[in-house]
C-alpha cells in the first residue's frame, strides 16, 4: 500500500502458530492526511491472558490514528476507547467464567507514531512492549539508529504493564507512557512490531547477525515473505505469539 506521498506504509501480520486467523489479537492501523501531508500509525498487541483483547487492541489503534494528540497528551482519547469497549462487551450473556474474566477488562501493549513529513519529524508514544525501530541506510547497509521503548531483547518478559480497558486503582497507564521524538532521514525506515518479533530482531542485532534487511522492503515484500520471516524467527527461538510488522519507508523525492 502506498500513500502517494514520499513514503510508503505496509503492514503484515500472522497469528500464533496453532491458532486460527480470527484468533489473531494484535492490531494495526494507519491514516494519512493528503492535505496536511501527515500520517499516524499504530500497532497494539492484545494480551493472551485477558478477554476481548483483540477488540481492545483494535480500539486503541483506531483511536490513535483518528486523533491528533501526541506527547504527554497521547492517552487523551483513552476514556473514549474504554467507553466503546464497555459498550461492545457489556450486555452479552456470558457463562460465569467469561463474565468474571470480562469484568477484569482487556489489556494491550501499544505504540503509536505521528509523522509530519514537512519537516520529516516524528513523535511516538508507547505503553508496554510493542516497539518502534528507526533504521537508516538501504539494503545491506541498513542499520538500527534507535529502538523504542525497549532497547534490549532481555527486557521482554511475559508480564509487561499494559493499557487496560477498565480504569481501576493502580492501573493508570500514564506513569508507564514512554515518549520519543526524531526525524526520518531520506534513506530512513520506521518499523513497528509486536513483542515477539521485536525481541527476535533485537536479539539478532545483539548477536551481530543481520536483522534489519530481512524486515525491510528487500526482505519482506508480501504476505508470503512475512510468513517465511515468522517461520525463521520461531525456528530461532522467538516466542510463539501473534506477529505484526508495520513499515513506513521513506521513498526517493
Amino acid at each position: 500500500m502506498s500513500s502517494g506521498f514520499p513514503f510508503a506504509i505496509e503492514a503484515f501480520c500472522c497469528p500464533k502458530a496453532g491458532n486460527r486467523p480470527e484468533e489473531y489479537e494484535d492490531a494495526w492501523a494507519f491514516r494519512t492526511d493528503g492535505a496536511a501531508g501527515s500520517a499516524r500509525v499504530a500497532v497494539a498487541d492484545g494480551a493472551t491472558e485477558s478477554s476481548f483483547s483483540k477488540l481492545w487492541a483494535i480500539l486503541l489503534v483506531e483511536s490513535w490514528v483518528r486523533g491528533r494528540a501526541g506527547g504527554p497528551e497521547a492517552l487523551s482519547r483513552l476514556e473514549g476507547a474504554r467507553r466503546l469497549w464497555r459498550r461492545k462487551v457489556g450486555g452479552r450473556k456470558l457463562p460465569w467464567y467469561a463474565a468474571e474474566k470480562a469484568s477484569r477488562g482487556a489489556h494491550a501493549a501499544f505504540v503509536g507514531l505521528a509523522l509530519d513529513p514537512a519537516g520529516r519529524r516524528w513523535s511516538a508514544a508507547a505503553v508496554g512492549d510493542c516497539c518502534l525501530f528507526e533504521l537508516h541506510g538501504v539494503g545491506p547497509g541498513l542499520r538500527l539508529a534507535r529502538a523504542f521503548p525497549l532497547t534490549r531483547s532481555e527486557e521482554f518478559g511475559s508480564s509487561p504493564f499494559l493499557v487496560g480497558s477498565i480504569a481501576r486503582g493502580g492501573d493508570d497507564p500514564s506513569p508507564h507512557l514512554r515518549l520519543a521524538e526524531g526525524s526520518l532521514p531520506h534513506h530512513g525506515t520506521l518499523l513497528f512490531a509486536s513483542d515477539a518479533l521485536s525481541a527476535w530482531l533485537l536479539a539478532r542485532e545483539e548477536r551481530g547477525e543481520p536483522a534489519w534487511e530481512a524486515a525491510s522492503r528487500l526482505g519482506v515484500a508480501d504476505a508470503i515473505d512475512f510468513e517465511a520471516l515468522v517461520t525463521r524467527a520461531r525456528e530461532e527461538g522467538a516466542r510463539n505469539d501473534d506477529m505484526t510488522l508495520l513499515r513506513l519507508t521513506s521513498l526517493p523525492d
Binding site: A47, T48, K101, G164, D171
Partner: protein
C-alpha cells in the same frame, strides 16, 4: 531445557489435586481461632484454585482447554478415588472447560472491589462450588500418591513432549498407611521429555502458627508432619520463582512448592500460557 514446553490447547498442561478427606480433617484449623475445620479450609482452597484456573483459561465468550484437571479424594472409608461429583463423577482427568461448566452449584457472594476512584464498591459475584467439606476414615496418602502416579503415567505417555504434570496435595499431613516419602519420590521420578513431575504440598494444620509460603528451608516449621511434607515437595522452576516474586510472594532461590496454613491460590499463575499483564489482578 526442562520446563520450557509451551502450554496451549494443542499441548495442554495437567493439574492433579489430591484432597485429604480423612477423619482428622474435622479438627480445627490453625489453632481453631476462626472456628473453621481443616476440611472447610481445604474445600475453600480447592474451590478457589479451580475458580482461578477457570478464569485464567476463560477467553472472551468461551474457555480454552489449556489444562486438564483431576481431583482424587483420599479418606472416606480409606479409599482413593476421583472426587468429582455430578456430570463428571468418576472421571480422573477432565478438560478445564468441562470442569468450569459443571460445578455442583453457583452461589452469589458479595465482595468489595475497587471503584476506580480510590474507593470500594460492593459487587455480587458468582462463586462456583465443586467440592463441599468432607471428612471420614483414615489418611491413605501413600495410596493417593500411588494412584496419582498411575494417572500421571497415563498422561505423560499421551503427552510426552508436554509440560510435566503438577500434582498438588492438600492435607493435614498425617498419613495412616505408611511413609509417604517413597511414594512421593516414585511420583516425581515420572515426567515428560520436558521435565519431572512437580509435587506441591499444601499443609493444613491444627497447629497455630504463622503461614509459610514457598519456603526454601524447613527452618521454623512447627512439626514433623510439616517437615516431612516440605521434604516431599519439588523445587519451583526458575520461571515459577520469577512469577511468584511478581505476584508479591516471598520466593527465593531453592524455594519449594510447599505452603503451611495458607491459601496459595496464586499457584495457578505459576505456568505461562501467554502474555499476562502485570496490572491484571
Amino acid at each position: 531445557m526442562a520446563y520450557k514446553a509451551e502450554i496451549s490447547r494443542k499441548n495442554p498442561g495437567c493439574f492433579l489435586f489430591l484432597l485429604d478427606q480423612s477423619g482428622s480433617m474435622e479438627d480445627p484449623f490453625g489453632g481453631g481461632e476462626g472456628g473453621r475445620k481443616k476440611a472447610d479450609e481445604l474445600a475453600t482452597i480447592i474451590n478457589k484454585l479451580i475458580h482461578n484456573l477457570s478464569i485464567r483459561c476463560a477467553k472472551s465468550d468461551s474457555i480454552y482447554d489449556y489444562f486438564h484437571v483431576g481431583v482424587l479424594g483420599y479418606g472416606q472409608d480409606t479409599v482413593v478415588k476421583p472426587a468429582f461429583e455430578g456430570a463428571i463423577a468418576g472421571r480422573d482427568l477432565v478438560p478445564i472447560s468441562e470442569l468450569a461448566d459443571n460445578p455442583l452449584r453457583i452461589e452469589d457472594r458479595v465482595k468489595k472491589t475497587d471503584d476506580g476512584a480510590g474507593g470500594l464498591v460492593e459487587q455480587t459475584v458468582k462463586f462456583p462450588v465443586w467440592f463441599d467439606a468432607k471428612w471420614a476414615g483414615g489418611t491413605p496418602m501413600c495410596g493417593a500418591l500411588k494412584t496419582a502416579s498411575d494417572v500421571v503415567q497415563r498422561w505423560v505417555s499421551e503427552h510426552a513432549k508436554g509440560f510435566p504434570p503438577i500434582v498438588i496435595n492438600i492435607t493435614d499431613g498425617e498419613a495412616t498407611d505408611g511413609d509417604p516419602k517413597p511414594e512421593a519420590q516414585a511420583l516425581c521420578s515420572l515426567g515428560s521429555d520436558d521435565g519431572a513431575v512437580l509435587l506441591f504440598n499444601i499443609h493444613l494444620s491444627s497447629t497455630a502458627g504463622a503461614p509459610v509460603e514457598l519456603a526454601a528451608r524447613p527452618d521454623g516449621l512447627p512439626d514433623a508432619f510439616a517437615k516431612q511434607l516440605f521434604e516431599m515437595s519439588s523445587q519451583l522452576t526458575p520461571f515459577m520463582i520469577g512469577r511468584a516474586k511478581e505476584l508479591g510472594m516471598p520466593a527465593e532461590d531453592g524455594a519449594r512448592g510447599f505452603v503451611f496454613n495458607a491459601q496459595p491460590v496464586q499457584v495457578i499463575q505459576f505456568l505461562d500460557i501467554g502474555t499476562r499483564p502485570a496490572n491484571l489482578r
